[in-house]
C-alpha cells in the first residue's frame, strides 16, 4: 500500500462517501477535531475535510464527505487503489475535551461525521452523552448506529419527517430542555444556519456551545487569511485558531456570506456538468 492510497470506499448515503486513506503518520498524530487538506489532481483545489477516525495500527485515516460541488465530485470519482495527489495534516487545533458532565452532540448532514471522533473523546473523558442527528431526509441520516453506541439517548430529526422527529435538530434540543434534561455542554457541527440556530437556543439557556466552522480555505497553515471568521468581534483564522469556536461568539452571518464568495463562478462551473443539479438538491 502506498501513501495517500484509498483502501476503502463506501457510499454511506446518497452522494455521501466514507474513504479510508492510507497515511500512517497522520493516523498516528491526529487528534479529534483536526482536519486534512487534500488535492485530487494537478490543477485541483485544496479541499479541507475533517478526520473522522483513524487507525494508527493500520496507518489509515477515515474521511466522510458529501459530493456537493466540483472538487468533492472529483474526489468521489476515485476508486479503491487510487491515490489522492496530496494529503496534508493534521491541521487545526484539536478539540478541547474535558468532563463537562452531560454533553449533547449535534450533527447536521455531513457534519455528523466530524461529530463522531469528538463524541468518542467526550465519552472517554467521562461525559454522559446525548446525541441528535439531523438530515434532510431519511436516507441522508449517517452514523446513527455508531453514535447510538456512545450515547445514552440518541434522537434523529429529518426536515421532511421521513424518519425520527419531523423538523430541525433545534426542535429536539428544545424538547430535551423542556423535559428538564440536564445539559452542560453542546457540540454542534453542520451547516452554518443549523449551528447558528443551536447557538441561539443554548445561549438562552446559558449552555456552553462549541461549533466547528468551515469557511473557504486555501493553505490551511495560517498563511493566506482567506479562512478568517469573526469570533467575539475579533478576526480569527479558522485553519489555525480553530476550526472549533464558541458558538455564542461566532458571526455566522459573515461566515455564510463569505462561504458564498465564489458562488457565481461555482454556478458557472456547475452548469457545465450535468450531475450538478443532484448535489444542488442534496445540499442544505
Amino acid at each position: 500500500m502506498s501513501a495517500n492510497e484509498i483502501v476503502l470506499k463506501e457510499e454511506i448515503a446518497p452522494q455521501t462517501y466514507r474513504y479510508v486513506v492510507r497515511h500512517p503518520k497522520i493516523a498516528r498524530k491526529r487528534r479529534a477535531g483536526q482536519f486534512v487538506i487534500l488535492r485530487v489532481h494537478e490543477g485541483g483545489e485544496r479541499v479541507p475535510l475533517t478526520i473522522v477516525d483513524s487507525d494508527p495500527e493500520a496507518g489509515t485515516v477515515t474521511l466522510i464527505f458529501q459530493a456537493v460541488g466540483h472538487s468533492t465530485r472529483e474526489l468521489a470519482e476515485l476508486e479503491v487503489g487510487d491515490q489522492v495527489l496530496d494529503l496534508a495534516g493534521p491541521l487545526g487545533q484539536p478539540t478541547h475535551i474535558e468532563n463537562f458532565g452531560t454533553a449533547c452532540v449535534i450533527g447536521g448532514g455531513y457534519g455528523t461525521a466530524p461529530v463522531l471522533p469528538i463524541a468518542v473523546a467526550l465519552r472517554e473523558a467521562g461525559n454522559e452523552l446525548l446525541g441528535i442527528v439531523g438530515a434532510r431526509t431519511r436516507e441522508l441520516v449517517i452514523l446513527e448506529e455508531e453514535l447510538q453506541a456512545l450515547c445514552s439517548r440518541l434522537e434523529v430529526a429529518t426536515d421532511d419527517g421521513s424518519y425520527g422527529h419531523h423538523g430541525f435538530v433545534t426542535d429536539v434540543l428544545q424538547k430535551l430542555l423542556d423535559e428538564g434534561q440536564k445539559i452542560d455542554f453542546v457540540l454542534a457541527i453542520g451547516p452554518a444556519p443549523m449551528m447558528r440556530a443551536v447557538s441561539d437556543l443554548t445561549r438562552q439557556h446559558g449552555i456552553k456551545t462549541m461549533v466547528s466552522l468551515n469557511p473557504l480555505m486555501v493553505d490551511g497553515t495560517g498563511m493566506c487569511g482567506g479562512c478568517r471568521v469573526e469570533v467575539g468581534g475579533e478576526t480569527k483564522f479558522a485553519c489555525v485558531d480553530g476550526p472549533e469556536f464558541d458558538g455564542h461568539l461566532v458571526n455566522f452571518d459573515l461566515l455564510m456570506k463569505r462561504q458564498a464568495t465564489y458562488k457565481p463562478q461555482e454556478t458557472e462551473a456547475c452548469q457545465l456538468e450535468s450531475h450538478c443539479r443532484l448535489s444542488e438538491h442534496l445540499r442544505h
Binding site: R46, G89, C224, G226
Partner: protein, 466 residues
C-alpha cells in the same frame, strides 16, 4: 579601440505593455547570445571586485562574466552554481540595483554591468540545452539533516549540506516546493517551469523532497530530532503571516490579503481557469494597498486577470515606495494608477457583504519616523469613497507562529521571529538552526539564500563535532 566597458549597457527586450497585460508570460524576454556576450565583455575583471561584496552568496561575478564574454555560457552557469543553486531565479528576481550591480565600479561613472541579466541568460542557456551536470556526490557522512520550509533559504541549505555528504530531507507544508518563489512571485516575473527545473536539481544531489508536510502539526521539531532520527534541523519557514489593517469592513467578500490573492493566482494557478479549479475574484475595479514589490505584483496580477482599473493606494509619497524601481516602472507602463499619500480607512459592502467601495483618506508627510522616512499624517475631512470590487492588502507580512508555538525552548523576539546568530543561524536550541525571512522578517531571495549557506556551513561543523 576603446575598451568595451565604454559601450552602453545592453537593453533588455520586453513584451510591450498593451500585449503583456493580456497574458501571464514573462515580461522581459531575455538577452540574445550576442547581447549577453557584449554585455559581459564590458566587465573590467577588477582585481578586487566590489560587485562580489554586494552579493550575499558571493557569486564569482568577474569569473562567470569572463566565461560568458567568451561565449562559454554553460561554464559560466557552472561557475555561478558553485555558490548559487538558483541562478535562473536570482538573475530574474534579485534587486541587483541595490546588491551586486550597486557596487560595480562601472556604475560610478556610467552604467553598471547587467550582472542579473547575464546570470539569467547563462542559466537559461544551460538549462534549455540540458547541459547541467550534477556535481560528484561525496561519500555519505552518515548524518541526517531536516530542512523545514522550501523557500530560497531552505533550498540553499539543503543543496550545500547534500554537497557535503549529508542525507537531507526538505519538509514543505504546501504541495509545491519553492516558498514565496512558487506561491508569491507571479508567473510573469518568474515562470514556474524554470523554478521547477532548478528545484529538481536538488533531487539529483540526493536531497529528498517531502511536500504536504506541515512541521509543528505532523512532526514537531523535537519529533524530527528524536523519533525521526535527524541530527540537525534548519528552519526556513519564511515570513508568511498576512497583515491586515484592522479596518471596518475588512472581512467583506472581495478583500484579500496579498498572500491569498497571489497564492490563488500563482500556486493554485487560478489565472488559468482552463487548467485550474481554484477560483479568484476577477475584479473590474481593484485597489491594492501598499507600495512594495508585493503590492506591485498584486496590482499587475489584477490587471492581467482583466481589471479595467487598478489603483495602488500608498500612504507615503513615491520617494518612500519600497518597491524596486523596475517594478514601479513596469506597473506604471501597465496602467496601474498610483494614488499616493492615500490610505483606506474603511471598506463598504452591499447587502450580501460584497465589497463595493473603499473610504480613502488623504495624507501629508510629517516628521521622520523610526524608519527615517517621513511619517504620513492623515488630513482630517479629506475622506472620499472610491468604488471598487476587489481590494488586496499588501502592507507586509509577519512571522507564522506555527513552529515557535510547538517548539518549547526556541527563542523568538518580540515580533515572533526566531532569534538566530547572524553568522551561523544557531538558535537557542542545540542542533536547531534558522535563517531567511523567519529570522530577519521579509527581506530578499538572495539574502535568504545567504543565510541558508551560512547555516549549512555551521551545521556541517556541528555535525562533525557529534
Amino acid at each position: 579601440m576603446p575598451h568595451p566597458s565604454q559601450n552602453p549597457r545592453q537593453p533588455m527586450p520586453e513584451q510591450p505593455p498593451e500585449e503583456r497585460i493580456k497574458n501571464f508570460s514573462e515580461v522581459p524576454l531575455g538577452y540574445t547570445p550576442e547581447q549577453a556576450q557584449a554585455e559581459a565583455s564590458r566587465c573590467l575583471r577588477c582585481r578586487k571586485p566590489q560587485c562580489v561584496a554586494g552579493c550575499p552568496v558571493a557569486v564569482d561575478i568577474p569569473g562567470f562574466l569572463a566565461l560568458a564574454a567568451e561565449g562559454k555560457f554553460t561554464e559560466a552557469a557552472n561557475k555561478i552554481m558553485e555558490t548559487n543553486v538558483l541562478p535562473a531565479v536570482c538573475g530574474r528576481v534579485c534587486p541587483q540595483e541595490t546588491q551586486c550591480e550597486a557596487l560595480c565600479v562601472l556604475g560610478k561613472k556610467g552604467e553598471p554591468i547587467a550582472v542579473g541579466r547575464i546570470e539569467r541568460f547563462v542559466a537559461d542557456w544551460q538549462r534549455e540545452r540540458g547541459e547541467y551536470q550534477p556535481p560528484e556526490r561525496p561519500s555519505p557522512s552518515g548524518k541526517r539533516v531536516a530542512i523545514v520550509g522550501s523557500g530560497p533559504a531552505g533550498l540553499t541549505a539543503a543543496a550545500d549540506l547534500a554537497k557535503r555528504g549529508h542525507e537531507v530531507t526538505v519538509f514543505e507544508a504546501l504541495h509545491e516546493m519553492g516558498g514565496v518563489l512558487v506561491y508569491g512571485i507571479p508567473e510573469f516575473r518568474l515562470p514556474k517551469a524554470i523554478l521547477k527545473a532548478e528545484v529538481n536539481r536538488l533531487q539529483e544531489l540526493g536531497v529528498k523532497l517531502e511536500t504536504s508536510a506541515v512541521i509543528g502539526k505532523l512532526d514537531t521539531i523535537e519529533d524530527l530530532l528524536t523519533e525521526e532520527g535527524f541530527d540537525a534541523v534548519f528552519v526556513g519557514t519564511g515570513a508568511g503571516l498576512p497583515t491586515f489593517m484592522g479596518l471596518p469592513g475588512e472581512n467583506l467578500i472581495g478583500v484579500y490579503s496579498a498572500n491569498e490573492f497571489l497564492t490563488r493566482s500563482n500556486l493554485m494557478r487560478a489565472y488559468d481557469s482552463n487548467q485550474a479549479d481554484t477560483p479568484i475574484a476577477r475584479g473590474q475595479r481593484v485597489m491594492v494597498v501598499g507600495g512594495g514589490n508585493v503590492a506591485m505584483d498584486a496590482a499587475r496580477t489584477a490587471r492581467r486577470l482583466g481589471a479595467e482599473k487598478v489603483i495602488l493606494a500608498y500612504r507615503r509619497s513615491r520617494e518612500e515606495m519600497p518597491a524596486r524601481a523596475e517594478e514601479i516602472h513596469h506597473a506604471e507602463e501597465e496602467g496601474i494608477e498610483f494614488h499616493l499619500l492615500s490610505a483606506p480607512v474603511a471598506f463598504l459592502g452591499d447587502d450580501n457583504s460584497r465589497l463595493r467601495a473603499a473610504v480613502i483618506q488623504k495624507m501629508e508627510l510629517g516628521e521622520p519616523d523610526d524608519s527615517g522616512r517621513r511619517r504620513p499624517v492623515p488630513i482630517e475631512g479629506s475622506e472620499f469613497e472610491e468604488p471598487i470590487d476587489v481590494a488586496v492588502i499588501a502592507i507586509g507580512a509577519g512571522a507564522n507562529p506555527l513552529i515557535a508555538s510547538t517548539t518549547p525552548g526556541l527563542e523568538t523576539n518580540r515580533k515572533g521571529y526566531i532569534v538566530a546568530d547572524s553568522e551561523t543561524g544557531a538558535t537557542s536550541l542545540p542542533g536547531v538552526y534558522a535563517g531567511g525571512d523567519i529570522v530577519t522578517g521579509s527581506a530578499t531571495v538572495i539574502e535568504a539564500m545567504g543565510a541558508g549557506r551560512r547555516a549549512a556551513a555551521a551545521i556541517d561543523e556541528y555535525l562533525k563535532s557529534l
